[in-house]
């Protein structure tokens, strides 16, 4: 092969190698994302259907007692409208607490609220988490909520 021929052949080989290198790298990236999603998945997959919070009492809340608030896997509670569960009550902070389901159980975490979060009357320290059972009462500011999770004990 003449120099120009070998050069052209080299360029072709490099082009194809790079093209497939790109495709493979994109594939690996997609695979990693899939694995990350999979690692997060057990919580989501085991999410019990029908978990909800029932409003028991709430001072100025526009949510009357008896209202059911459905819960997602991770549900933040607060006054701001970008929370999953919005409670328009002056005693509730903008981003007050977060309910999350993982390892087969519901957890609640206070997000540093002004008026605090309590479970069955026990006040959570800031940024601490508490394990919940179905029927537990969670006090978010001045609003009492009962967790109803039909598939949990």
């Amino acid at each position: 092969m003449s120099p120009i021929e070998s050069q052209l052949f080299f360029a072709r080989a490099v082009l194809l190698m790079l093209l497939y290198g790109f495709v493979a790298a994109a594939g690996i990236l997609a695979w990693r994302e899939l694995r990350a999603a999979q690692r997060a998945a057990p919580a989501r997959a085991a999410e019990p259907p029908g978990a909800r919070l029932i409003v028991l009492s709430g001072g100025a809340s526009e949510r009357p007692p008896g209202t059911a608030l459905p819960l997602g896997t991770v549900a933040s509670v607060g006054r701001d409208i970008d929370n999953e569960v919005v409670i328009q009550d002056p005693t509730v902070s903008g981003r007050h607490a977060v309910f999350s389901f993982r390892e087969g159980a519901w957890w609640v975490e206070d997000l540093g609220s002004t008026n605090g979060t309590a479970v069955n009357g026990r006040r959570l320290t800031e940024r601490a988490q508490a394990l919940l059972r179905s029927g537990d009462v969670v006090q978010v500011g001045g609003v009492s909520l009962r967790l109803v999770a039909p598939t949990l004990p």
Binding site: F9, I81, D82, E84, V86
Partner: protein, 497 residues
């Protein structure tokens, strides 16, 4: 309430799946066109890639039996510009009827785009010349996968360039054909058809398809002509084979005449005053009456059977296109037609190549050889290597062939074929013909023969269309061609020793 809509997210996933499926279908279609349907698309004659690919091929040369170049392509530097494809060189223009042509423009039918066209041996051995045959796996990968141009093989023909050129020169500007074949093997040493074309100039300005001179028409293999008296070779052989007559049988037809179904035939060509002679001289002097009687004695069915055993009505296997002759449109020949067919007149027509094969048959052991052109393709170890060879037809036995041979030697010594012997300067056998065409047309001049007379090695057929008397016009050409062929043969065997 803000937040993403899970339902829209679900629909997006489905739409994405449809888009991916679409891309998969596109990929499958690409595989179909690029792989499954690719061979048929690549082979389409209107594929410009085919032309471009052909132009990059280093096409093999065509050589004659002694290595003289008949066709060769320019160097690789000539192949770069697709606008002016490299013209192929044809150093022996007289060989055009055999070598044919390879061109980029001719045959496109007015289409301005470049088109690949081949004819003659260029077409017959195209795959060897291109290099499609006999590729090693390495070359196969280089050409199929890496799209590297092919390198073709040289092709060696049985043709003798010198003989071919001389035969063409002897014909000169006259329309006609000369065919020289090896007795026994059937190797074609010369195959001339005039007028012919210059294969190198086809790219520049081809003869129009309606050229009245029909230069692309190969008269030697495809022209069907009334054979005239040279056909008496077949009639004589048939009569001898059936024991109807012998060479020494006395014939007293010198000044006689007879009618066959109202058709009057006489003996017009014997020397004045000689009325009684033997069958050999009746042949040599080309006595029509004698042969009309032989044909009538054989009868229509037997005559047709003999003619067909000599290959009339069928084309011999040959790498170039060949026409077949025919005896008559009638299944049962009426008496006048049977009588005239026996001396080569009437409806009977055949090709110069066929008559050369008949001459080779009687010059040999009675079998018509299969004519062939391809001597060798050096470098090819597998693939389609050779033309068919062997005996095509065996109409008569060796003894009959020897008798006919003797009659042809008499004809060349005492008869009308004498001018051929004089021109050759060696002992030969031969037979002339003057095919009457009716109307005011000049007759075709014919000669068939072989040389040397005692142990024939080459056979020839010469036709000069509307040339006149066979003995005056065709016989001298045949004689010279035979002498040249034998001399070349001797020189070659001398070289070998």
């Amino acid at each position: 309430m803000t937040g993403a809509s899970p339902s829209i997210a679900g629909h997006v996933v489905r739409v994405a799946a449809v888009a991916l499926a679409g891309l998969a279908v596109v990929a499958a279609a690409t595989v179909y066109w690029g792989f499954v349907a690719a061979p048929s698309l690549a082979a389409r004659p209107d594929n410009p890639r085919r032309i471009a690919f052909e132009q990059r091929i280093r096409r093999g040369r065509i050589l004659d039996r002694r290595g003289a170049v008949l066709a060769a392509s320019g160097g690789p530097e000539a192949a770069a510009d697709p606008a002016s494809p490299p013209a192929r060189q044809y150093p022996v223009p007289a060989a055009a009827p055999v070598v044919g042509f390879q061109t980029w423009r001719y045959g496109a039918g007015g289409d301005p785009r470049v088109t690949y066209g081949v004819g003659g041996a260029e077409a017959a051995y195209d795959d060897a010349l291109r290099g499609d045959l006999g590729m090693s796996w390495r070359q196969l990968i280089a050409s199929r996968v890496l799209h590297r141009p092919l390198a073709g093989h040289d092709v060696v023909l049985t043709l003798d360039a010198g003989l071919q050129a001389q035969a063409a020169e002897l014909l000169g500007a006259r329309e006609g054909a000369v065919v020289v074949v090896d007795v026994g093997s059937g190797a074609v040493r010369a195959l001339v058809s005039q007028p012919t074309f210059d294969p190198a100039s086809l790219d520049r300005g081809a003869p129009p398809p309606d050229d009245p001179r029909r230069p692309l028409f190969n008269r030697a293999t495809q022209g069907r002509y009334t054979p005239g008296s040279v056909w008496k070779v077949v009639t004589l052989a048939a009569a001898l084979e059936d024991g109807l007559t012998t060479l020494d049988a006395t014939v007293a037809d010198g000044d006689a005449s007879d009618t066959f179904g109202g058709f009057r035939v006489a003996c017009d060509n014997n020397p004045d005053g000689v009325t009684t002679f033997d069958m050999a001289h009746a042949f040599g002097w080309s006595c029509n009456l004698t042969f009309a009687r032989l044909g009538t004695a054989l009868g229509s069915a037997r005559y047709r059977a003999h003619a067909e055993r000599f290959g009339l009505g069928e084309a011999p296997p040959f790498p170039l296109p060949v026409a077949s002759g025919s005896l008559s449109e009638h299944a049962e020949l009426p008496p006048p037609e049977l009588a005239s067919a026996a001396f080569g007149q009437g409806e009977i027509v055949t090709t110069p190549l066929h008559l050369a094969l008949i001459a080779a048959a009687v010059a040999g052991d009675g079998g018509l050889p299969v004519p062939y052109l391809l001597a060798d393709v050096p470098g090819i170890r597998w693939g389609r290597l050779a033309d068919e060879r062997g005996t095509w037809r065996q109409p008569i036995g060796a003894a009959t062939a020897a008798a006919v041979r003797r009659a042809m030697v008499v004809a060349a010594t005492d008869g009308h074929a004498r001018p051929a012997r004089d021109a050759a300067g060696i002992e030969i056998g031969g037979k002339t013909g003057t095919a009457q065409l009716g109307g005011s047309q000049r007759p075709h001049a014919w000669f068939v023969g072989f040389a040397p007379a005692d142990a024939p090695r080459v056979a020839v057929a010469v036709l000069v269309v509307n040339g006149g008397e066979g003995s005056a016009v065709a016989a001298p050409i045949g004689g010279r061609v035979l002498a040249r062929a034998v001399a070349a043969d001797d020189a070659a065997s001398g070289d070998r020793e």
